[in-house]
């Protein structure tokens, strides 16, 4: 499995981005293009999920997976916070901000896993997209609770505006919205626009991962607040979170493909939805730290090793 992943164009473009940035090339993907591609990917994955759920219908297993996902998203930050405070020796605010990132999920890790799993014959159910959308926000709430408790800070003047930002965050709205559109339009409604969202999908993912590689490497090079302990945690936490998710999924009797995806979601850390919310809710937290960990270390780790690791472990369990 690992060999196939490592020679698939998606991962090779990611590696090209990493190498180009470490070699300090001036290759840059314009921000508007990167935003455009992430909007395209969110719409495509949302629609695909909605259409497949419209076909398969709402089964109990969707509810189980959704509950497991939301539970993980709420709980992981508390575990991560403890590790970050003790082993990571981070102050309260930064520990809470990083914990929120690791409780939440990364769309691109999900999309990349979806591609690599399908390539090796494992296709997870369409409703996992809904689980992805549901897992984005709870972790932010836990993170803010941890930060408040940590510092007895008076209710922030922008609180109302912050809750609003957390739930009406652009990516959550687009992902959930296109999921619902896929659900309403169904197979035949989706047919006329299917070519655009299927033909371009893998190719756009290649160019997007090229950009992710460039930004992840530049993030690592520019990271100032990163201690050796934090780098170790940025690798240990995904593995830990993934194992917890595997245990929970096995206990709930989830099917093998969905089990792998849930583990990868738990192991992934957000770097689009949560950083924007954190910057507004916890301005004191240093974006240098949480972005370097989630984007600079955890994302590359998950894409290159995480996906194969959890596929292997899930196969062993079932």
């Amino acid at each position: 499995m690992i060999l196939e992943t490592l020679t698939s164009p998606i991962i090779l473009f990611f590696a090209l981005g990493l190498l180009a940035a470490f070699a300090r090339s001036d290759l840059v993907i314009p921000e508007a293009l990167a935003k455009g591609m992430s909007i395209y990917l969110m719409a495509a994955i949302g629609l695909k999920g909605g259409v497949s759920v419209a076909a398969a219908g709402f089964g109990p297993d969707l509810l189980i997976a959704a509950l497991a996902g939301v539970l993980l998203s709420f709980a992981i930050p508390f575990l991560a916070y403890a590790l970050l405070r003790s082993i990571g020796r981070l102050d309260g605010i930064n520990a809470a901000a990083v914990a929120a990132h690791y409780g939440s999920v990364s769309l691109v890790t999900f999309v990349t896993a979806d591609q690599l799993l399908t390539a090796s014959g494992i296709s997870a159910a369409g409703y996992m997209v809904a689980v992805l959308a549901l897992m984005e926000t709870p972790a932010i709430i836990s993170g803010l609770l941890l930060a408040r408790r940590g510092t007895k800070q008076s209710a922030d003047s922008g609180a109302s505006n912050m809750w609003h930002e957390v739930f009406l965050n652009g990516s959550v709205v687009l992902l959930t919205g296109s999921f619902l559109i896929g659900l309403i339009a169904g197979k035949d409604g989706f047919a006329p626009i299917a070519p655009m969202f299927e033909v371009g999908y893998k190719g756009v993912l290649c160019l997007f991962l090229l950009d992710m590689g460039l930004i992840a490497a530049r993030r690592i090079m520019a990271s100032k607040g990163l201690t050796f302990r934090l780098i170790a945690l940025a690798i240990a936490m995904p593995i830990g979170n993934g194992l917890i998710a595997l245990g929970l999924a096995a206990a709930l009797g989830m099917a093998m493909p969905e089990m792998i995806v849930l583990a990868i979601l738990a192991a992934s850390a957000s770097y689009i939805a949560v950083p924007a919310a954190m910057r507004l809710a916890l301005p004191e937290a240093d974006p240098g730290i949480y972005l370097s960990m989630s984007l600079g270390i955890t994302f590359p780790f998950n894409v290159i090793f995480g996906i194969s690791l959890f596929t292997f472990l899930a196969r062993m369990i079932s």
């Binding site: 921000e31 922008g158 520019a222 950083p275 954190m278 507004l280 004191e284 974006p287 984007l295």
Partner: protein, 103 residues
Amino acid sequence: MTALIIKKRIDLIVDLPLIPKIVAIGKAAGIEHHTVLSALSGIGTHGSWSDDRISGAMAKANFMTICSAEHAESFVAALEPLLSSYRMIITVTDVGVVRGSHF
């Protein structure tokens, strides 16, 4: 020569996601109008940044407002405690304006 009235111009370099908060603080200090100018990159005590961040959390902008000396004073006073936590810089300059009443 059209007589120019002296007003204060306040410039902030601040993270884009924090602009709504700055506008709220401004309103409380009597600052009703402002313009946000776009910035591309920069280096400060907290290291370098440039706007090609997927998350946009690192993108900064130049919040600018023209206002009376009194409003300027209360605005700067309100912003001072947040300077380091918001990673902002503030500068205050004298400018001449034509329609005194407008600002």
